[in-house]
C-alpha cells in the first residue's frame, strides 16, 4: 500500500480553490467540505490527510515535516525563504506585490523613504537592489491606512484587483513581482515519499493542464 501524504492547505478562499484542484486530481477527501469546524481530515482510500492551517503558517508545517506537502502564496515564500521544495505554480490566487502610494506621490530622494508593510524582507530586498534607503514600518493589517494617516510615504503590499487602493485614493507605482499559489514539499518527505509525491504532482499537472 502506498504511504499516506500529509497535506497542509491554507484556510479560506484560496484553500477552497486549491482543494478543488486536489479533488479534480483524484485526491479528494469527502469530509473536508462536510464539517466546517474540523481542521484535520483523512481519507484512507485516497491515501491523503489534509490539515487546514493559517495561510501564513503553511510553510512552517511543511518545513518542519508535520506536513509532507502544502500550498502557499509566493509572497510567503519570498518573505520567509523556508527551506522547502517549490514544486509547482498552481496558477491560482494570482495577484501582484506592489509599491503603492497616494495619487501623485513623488519620491523625493532626500531622506529615508517610509515604507509600511507586512512584508519587510521583500520590501528591503526590493529597495536594497535600487540603493534606496528606507525606514520599514511593520504593520499587521489595513496597510492602506498608513499613507493616508501620514504614518508612511508608501506601502508594499499584495494587490489583487487594485480596488481597495482606488477606494482609498491610492494607486500602484511599481510591481515588485507576480504572486500565485505554489505547491511546496518538505525536503525529506520528497525523498522518502518520492513515488507518492511525484504521482500526485503528475495528477495535478494533468488536472490543471500544465
Amino acid at each position: 500500500m502506498s504511504e499516506m501524504i500529509n497535506i497542509a492547505l491554507p484556510k479560506g478562499r484560496l484553500g477552497e480553490r486549491v482543494y478543488a484542484i486536489f479533488e479534480a486530481a483524484g485526491r479528494g477527501c469527502r469530509s473536508v467540505t462536510e464539517d466546517s469546524r474540523k481542521l484535520f481530515f483523512e481519507d484512507e482510500t485516497a491515501r491523503v490527510r489534509y490539515f487546514l492551517v493559517k495561510p501564513s503558517d503553511t510553510h512552517i508545517y511543511v518545513e518542519r515535516g508535520a506536513a509532507d506537502i502544502g500550498v502557499v502564496g509566493k509572497d510567503i515564500l519570498l518573505e520567509y525563504s523556508p527551506d522547502v521544495y517549490e514544486l509547482m505554480d498552481l496558477g491560482v490566487g494570482a495577484c501582484r506585490m506592489v509599491v503603492a502610494a497616494k495619487k501623485n506621490f513623488e519620491d523625493e530622494t532626500g531622506g529615508a523613504l517610509r515604507v509600511a508593510t507586512k512584508f519587510a524582507n521583500i520590501a528591503r530586498g526590493y529597495y536594497d537592489g535600487r540603493g534606496r534607503e528606507i525606514d520599514i514600518i511593520r504593520l499587521g493589517g489595513s496597510i492602506e491606512l498608513a499613507p493616508l494617516t501620514g504614518l508612511s510615504d508608501v506601502i508594499v503590499d499584495i494587490m489583487e484587483t487594485g480596488r481597495t487602493l482606488l477606494d482609498n485614493g491610492m494607486e500602484p507605482m511599481q510591481t515588485i513581482t507576480d504572486i500565485s499559489a505554489r505547491l511546496i514539499a518538505n525536503k525529506v518527505s520528497y525523498r522518502f515519499k518520492h513515488a507518492e509525491i511525484t504521482s500526485l504532482c503528475d495528477a495535478i499537472r494533468r488536472s490543471i493542464g500544465k
Binding site: 518542519r64 521544495y85 525536503k187 525523498r191
Partner: protein, 369 residues
C-alpha cells in the same frame, strides 16, 4: 567494566558508533579548542550556514568566536600537500537550528580527508557517509550532486555568476517554473532551460540515473564530472556502501568553496538533512594550500527529540525507603540490585519516575532473608 548501550541516549549512542566506524577505516581523532579568532570566520562567512556567530573579547583584546564550524579549524591546521591526512572529530559547534536566529550548542561528529586525493579517498568518504546513516536510521538515503557538473553546464551556456547563482537557487528548490521564467528573462535557450529543469527534477539511484545525466552533459567539464561521480560511486559500493545512494542535484553549495562531489544524508523521521559534506578544494586554496579536501559532518543533535523514547523506563527498580530505615541496610539492598544487573534508584517518594517494579526496603528484606 563493561556497559550496556541501553544507558546511552540517541545522541550519545550515535557518537560512540560513528567514532568507532571512522577509527576502523584509519581516521584519527582531532581535538580542538571551543573558540577561534573571529577573523577566521569573518573571512569565510559564506562557507558557514549562518552569519550568526557568538563573539567575545579575550584578555589580550582579541576578538574571539565560539566555534560555529569545525572544518575551518581543521583546514587552518592542515599541511598543504602530501598523502591524505584522515581525521575525525566529535565537537560542539555554536550555530542556529533550521532557519532560526538563536545560536544553539549543537553536537557534530564528522571527518575530513585532506591531501593529494584520488578517486579511492573520495569513494571511502562516500562509503563512510552512507555507513554513518546506517548507524542512525533504518530508512535512509545519501543524496549526491556535483558542483563541477553544475558549473560546467552554466559556463557552457555562457551564464554569468550572478545569473548562475539565481538559477542554482531554483535548482536547489526544484523550482522548474522559475527556471523557465528566469531563462526567458536572461535570454537563455529553451533547450538549456529544459535541461536545467530536468536536472532539478531528477532524483533516483545513481545506477539508474547516470544515463540521463550523460544525456544532459554538454562539454568536457561536465563529462569529467560525471566520470568522477561514477567512479567514486563504484568505489564506495565496492567498499561496502549500501545501494541507497541517489542522484540529487537539488543539493547545491557555494561555488567559491566547493569544487566536486557534494552530498547530504537523510533518515526517515528527521525533517532536515542529518549529514552534509563535499569536496572543498577551493576552500584550501583560499588558505594558500594546494591540496584536495573532502569531508562531512553528522548533526547528531537532531537525533535527540523529546518523546522519541516513549515507553523507555527511567529505572528498572524503584526502591522506596522510609525515615526510620537503616541507611546501611538500604546501601546493601541498592548494591545487591545494581550488581544483579538491574538499574535501581533509592528514593523516599516515587514522584513521576518511570520504573519497571516498585519495591519497598521491607519488601526487599523479606524477599532476601
Amino acid at each position: 567494566m563493561t556497559f550496556s548501550e541501553d544507558v546511552l541516549k540517541g545522541e550519545e549512542l550515535a557518537v560512540v558508533r560513528l567514532r568507532s566506524l571512522y577509527s576502523r577505516y584509519g581516521y584519527t581523532r582531532f581535538g580542538m579548542s571551543k573558540f577561534e579568532e573571529y577573523e577566521l570566520y569573518s573571512r569565510n562567512k559564506s562557507f558557514l550556514p549562518s552569519g550568526n556567530i557568538i563573539t567575545f573579547t579575550d584578555a589580550g583584546g582579541k576578538l574571539m568566536a565560539l566555534r560555529p564550524d569545525v572544518t575551518l579549524s581543521i583546514v587552518k591546521a592542515a599541511p598543504g600537500g602530501g598523502p591524505p591526512r584522515k581525521l575525525y572529530y566529535s565537537e560542539n559547534v555554536y550555530r542556529p537550528l533550521h532557519n532560526g536566529r538563536e545560536v544553539r550548542e549543537r553536537m557534530q561528529v564528522g571527518l575530513e580527508c585532506i591531501g593529494e586525493l584520488g578517486i579511492y579517498d573520495a569513494g571511502e568518504v562516500i562509503m563512510l557517509a552512507e555507513r554513518s546513516l546506517e548507524t542512525i536510521g533504518e530508512r535512509r538515503c545519501l543524496c549526491v550532486s556535483h558542483m563541477g557538473f553544475l558549473g560546467g553546464l552554466l559556463d557552457g551556456a555562457g551564464v554569468g555568476s550572478e545569473q548562475g547563482a539565481e538559477l542554482l537557487k531554483c535548482v536547489s528548490g526544484r523550482n522548474t517554473s522559475d527556471i523557465r521564467r528566469l531563462g526567458e528573462e536572461y535570454g537563455l535557450s529553451d533547450e538549456f532551460c529544459e535541461n536545467l529543469a530536468e536536472l532539478a527534477s531528477l532524483y533516483g539511484p545513481v545506477g539508474e540515473k547516470l544515463d540521463i545525466l550523460r544525456s544532459l552533459s554538454i562539454n568536457g567539464v561536465t563529462d569529467a564530472a560525471l566520470d568522477e561521480l561514477e567512479q567514486t560511486y563504484l568505489t564506495a559500493r565496492r567498499l561496502g556502501a549500501g545501494d541507497d545512494i541517489n542522484i540529487d542535484f537539488s543539493i547545491v553549495n557555494d561555488m567559491n568553496y566547493y569544487s566536486g562531489i557534494i552530498f547530504q544524508g537523510f533518515v526517515e523521521g528527521i525533517p532536515s538533512a542529518v549529514l552534509s559534506g563535499g569536496r572543498y578544494d577551493k576552500l584550501l586554496r583560499r588558505f594558500g594550500k594546494h591540496a584536495g579536501a573532502i569531508g562531512f559532518a553528522v548533526y547528531v543533535d537532531l537525533l535527540e527529540r523529546p518523546g522519541g523514547q516513549s515507553g523507555k523506563l527511567d529505572v528498572d527498580v524503584l526502591l522506596l525507603y522510609g525515615e526510620d530505615d537503616d541507611p546501611l541496610e538500604l546501601a546493601g539492598a541498592v548494591r545487591a540490585i545494581a550488581e544483579g544487573g538491574e538499574s535501581v534508584r533509592a528514593t523516599s517518594e516515587a514522584g513521576d519516575t518511570r520504573y519497571g517494579r516498585l519495591l519497598s526496603l521491607s519488601e526487599w528484606r523479606s524477599a532476601n532473608t
